[in-house]
């Protein structure tokens, strides 16, 4: 069929996989002597090979089929690398490389809390299976590796097995991911059964538009669960933070992108012309972005905050994908391209800065032994490197120019603006503008959220002893963060070039209708240079007063130094916003004032904020309760009384005989 592509690239790709498989297998047997460095270098080498292969294969790609004895029952193991897979594999390679550098130091910090072999085995398996999911060319291969990806990440969520929270998180995650797999498998079965070549599992033989859109919708929902789209995001803020930080980075940075990749693959590569799915995607995407960032803002656990922010960012991406589908249906090519470019660029960007932030959170965790914002603060003094790199991550994710998050958000805004003025339909036009309004709200919220994350954790005075005694992370951890921070910066200044690089991807996705391709027109580098020059100028102009700087206490109204308890906490920082969005968040403040004369002389005051998990209570609890009560009723049937059991036999007999007679 297709051109086999560059054989060297394929070889390199297989070599990368070989390194990873070696890592998995060596970590598997008990009492392996190999240490962190060994596994890390296997993982890292594999990633480097993958990058080399991607570069060589760009943009034509290659196809590889597993040799004969390996056969998945109904289809062979088929891998196909093309332009669409490249950006996603690139994030994967980048993040897995960073994770490989980061992990040894991080694991030393966790010491015996994590089983090292389990960690390396599962992490390498996780990376390996994600690479295969992205490259798989048929449904069965996809499912096999998809499940491996999910299960290995579940195991990693449980990697710190002592903690009860981790178990709970893993269970919720397991349920969600299994449900996602079930939906996807159902849709694949449908598609395969309806494919032109009978029972073909190859993607290219499938036709999404044949009978009905049900399989596409199933697929979309399944992928939404995996991507953490509202209201299926419930699992994400549990699972992502509980995993060890490097794994959280991989999960947030790459795994949710795998679901995005699948959306692009199935809804564009195999075109779906369903406005239902398009509007659903836009609606769910927008809701998740607002929801995600609001809850992120309310969080006081650094990693949970980051996890919720993943919900927000994935929401942005999915809404862009929905917009692209809408554009394609109504024939607005430029709009489609713009939205797709926004989605792709944001995937890459988010991979970089979310990876960076999670690694940073891990570094904070290892340095200060807590990631609760209530106990952090003032880390700037002891962890200057982590702080500086985390700053870059925060600025990027808050989409501040010139950092890279801005480029993709700009493309997103542009695509909705384009919808607003190029659409013929008045509802679509208003949709465009409304979404712009909502996204600007999201932008402001994410700014608030990341000022909180950075400001509370790193600035001010330490809120606890642990924070006071925090230690800077090890060399490897620093380098891994530095690598990702540099990638963020590189992406910031090469945004225009990156968008141009996406052209083959867009060409592949929109084969017959592709035209010119969008560009990122803001001369960011020029502006940055001007900004730097101005800074230099100001610096020179006002440097003369430099000598008069003196250090003193923070302004204390003359009462003498206030304790760190007087400082703004994470919770109080977001309190006004919590009140404004109180109904959405179910935000309650509980104030308890005690003492004999508590009106005038309160002896102790306790203020607690509490968010009632309304979504869980409304959407999930009843279903789970129903299943559980059904299960309970069935268990009660098992009475242990033999007479009752015999009665079942007789009743079943009578029922079946009646069926036999009257049917």
């Amino acid at each position: 069929m297709q051109d086999p592509g560059s054989p060297l690239a394929a070889t390199l790709y297989l070599a990368a996989n070989a390194f990873w498989i070696a890592g998995i297998l060596i970590a598997l047997p008990p009492r392996t002597g190999a240490g962190h460095k060994f596994f890390a270098s296997l993982l890292a080498t594999g990633s480097l090979f993958l990058i080399a292969s991607l570069v060589l294969a760009w943009p034509t790609g290659f196809v590889w089929t597993a040799p004969q004895p390996i056969f998945l029952g109904m289809a062979p193991v088929e891998l196909k690398l093309d332009a669409l897979t490249t950006p996603f594999l690139l994030i994967l390679a980048l993040l897995s490389f960073a994770v490989a550098i980061f992990s040894p130091g991080y694991l030393d910090h966790l010491k015996d809390r994590v089983d090292t072999r389990l960690y390396w085995c599962c992490t390498t398996l996780f990376v390996f299976s994600m690479a295969q999911v992205i490259t798989s060319a048929n449904g069965l291969t996809f499912l096999v590796f998809w499940e491996m990806m999910s299960l290995s990440s579940v195991a990693l969520v449980m990697a710190e097995p002592i903690r009860h929270r981790a178990q709970r998180a893993a269970l919720i995650y397991l349920g969600a991911t299994r449900f996602a797999t079930a939906l996807i498998a159902g849709s694949f079965i449908w598609l395969s059964s309806a494919s032109s070549a009978a029972h073909s599992w190859r993607f290219s033989d499938w036709d999404m538009s044949v009978h009905s859109y049900v399989p596409a919708l199933l697929l979309f929902l399944g992928l939404c669960i995996k991507a953490g789209i509202w209201p299926f995001h419930i699992w994400l803020p549990y699972a992502h933070p509980e995993a060890p930080a490097p794994v959280s980075a991989l999960m947030s940075g790459v795994m949710v992108k795998v679901a995005i990749y699948a959306m692009l693959r199935f809804f564009f590569f195999l075109p779906v012309y369903s406005s239902v799915i398009a509007y659903t995607a836009i609606a769910l995407g927008v809701i998740s972005s607002v929801w995600g960032i609001l809850f992120a803002l309310m969080e006081h656990d650094l990693k949970r905050l980051l996890a919720y922010s993943t919900v927000e960012n994935v929401g942005l991406i999915v809404s862009a994908i929905g917009l692209a589908m809408l554009g394609r249906i109504s024939g607005q090519i430029y709009l489609t391209e713009l939205a797709l470019a926004a989605a792709l660029l944001h995937c890459v960007n988010h991979g970089c800065f979310k990876g960076l932030l999670f690694l940073g959170a891990g570094s904070v965790d290892s340095g200060a032994h807590t990631r609760d914002l209530g106990y952090l603060g003032g880390l700037a003094k002891n962890m200057p490197w982590t702080m500086a790199l985390f700053f870059i991550g925060c600025a990027s994710i808050a989409a501040l120019p010139p950092f890279n998050g801005f480029a993709s958000k700009w493309l997103l805004y542009q695509s909705y603006l384009n919808l607003a003025f190029s659409s013929d339909h008045i509802l679509q036009r208003s949709l465009g503008l409304i979404v712009i309004g909502i996204f600007s709200l999201v932008g402001a919220l994410s700014l608030a959220c990341f000022t909180k994350a950075f400001g509370i954790a790193f600035l001010g005075r330490p809120r606890s002893d642990q924070a006071l005694k925090a230690k800077e992370c090890s060399e490897g951890m620093k380098q891994a963060q530095l690598l990702l921070a540099l990638c963020c910066l590189a992406l910031s200044f090469s945004a225009s070039a990156t968008v141009l690089l996406f052209q083959p991807v867009l060409k592949l996705l929109l084969k017959p209708i592709y035209t010119a391709g969008p560009i990122f027109s803001i001369p960011m580098t020029t502006l940055f240079v001007i900004g730097c020059a101005t800074t230099l100028l100001i610096y020179i102009l006002f440097n003369s007063t430099r000598a008069h700087v003196r250090e003193y206490n923070t302004w204390d109204c003359g009462y003498g130094p206030l304790p760190a308890r007087a400082e703004e906490t994470g919770t109080s920082f977001s309190h006004p916003i919590g009140i404004i969005f109180g109904t959405l968040l179910q935000y309650r403040t509980i104030t308890q004032i005690g003492g004999r004369d508590r009106r005038h002389f309160p002896e102790h005051i306790a203020v607690e904020v509490y968010m009632f998990p309304a979504l869980e209570a409304i959407l999930y609890k009843p279903g789970i309760a129903a299943i559980q009560s059904l299960s309970g009723a069935l268990v009660k049937m098992q009475t242990a009384n033999i007479h009752i059991h015999l009665l079942y036999v007789f009743v079943a007999m009578i029922v079946l005989v009646c069926v036999g007679i009257y049917l």
């Binding site: 268990v635 098992q638 009475t639 242990a640 009384n641 033999i642 007479h643 015999l646 009665l647 007789f650 007679i661």
Partner: protein, 218 residues
């Protein structure tokens, strides 16, 4: 009406009635005697039915049947009962007289079912036999469902088994001999196993009230 019936039909009905009488008593020995008569009647009806044919095995099987199930099993069970020292049922879920009445009611229901159930009226001469057989099935079920003692349950099972045999006779005029012999053997082994097991139950639990075997739940 009686006058129109063949001998084997009369025998089948009387076997069914004998089985029903078992429902009325909790005395194990009495029940066992009823059972003995009942089984021999069942075997006899098979002989009479076979009498219309000429093959040897149609005599052989009923004779073995009467010998093993009608005589052997009661003797074995009497032995077991002596060993585990029970002679009365520990209790029933329904009072025995009520059981008996339900059994009689079931005979009526069986009559209706046997004559109206589609598929069962295939052979017109079979439906009295079918009625008797169904009545025995119901009786066996009642015994199994209401009696608390392991031995009584076993007897209930044997009654059901007899019912099936009557079905086989009335509906098919006998199955292949080898099959019937095998079935007989299996049932016998089953009874012996169950008898030995109830012996063990007695030894472990010091009773054979199966309603108290309720440790394995959920």
């Amino acid at each position: 009406m009686i006058a129109n019936l063949d001998a084997y039909q009369i025998l089948a009905i009387s076997a069914a009635v004998m089985a029903m009488l078992m429902l009325g008593t909790t005395h194990l020995k009495g029940g066992l005697s009823f059972y003995m008569v009942h089984t021999i009647l069942v075997a006899a009806q098979a002989v009479f039915m076979g009498g219309m044919r000429t093959q040897l095995h149609e005599y052989l099987v009923p004779i073995l049947y009467a010998g093993f199930k009608g005589v052997g099993v009661p003797i074995f069970l009497t032995y077991v009962m002596k060993k585990i020292e029970v002679d009365d049922d520990a209790g029933t879920y329904l009072p025995p007289p009520l059981c008996l009445h339900i059994g009689i009611l079931m005979l009526g229901v069986s009559y209706l079912l046997a004559s109206h159930m589609p598929g069962l009226v295939a052979a017109s001469d079979a439906h009295i036999g079918a009625m008797a057989a169904m009545s025995m099935l119901f009786t066996g079920m009642l015994l199994m469902l209401t009696r608390k003692l392991a031995i009584s349950q076993l007897i209930g099972f044997l009654v059901m088994e007899n019912g099936i045999y009557v079905f086989a006779c009335s509906h098919t005029h006998g199955m292949p001999m080898l099959v019937e012999m095998g079935i007989l053997l299996d049932v016998l082994v089953g009874v012996i196993a169950a008898g030995l097991l109830s012996n063990s139950i007695k030894r472990s639990f010091e009773h054979i009230d199966v309603t108290k075997l309720t440790d394995l739940k959920g």
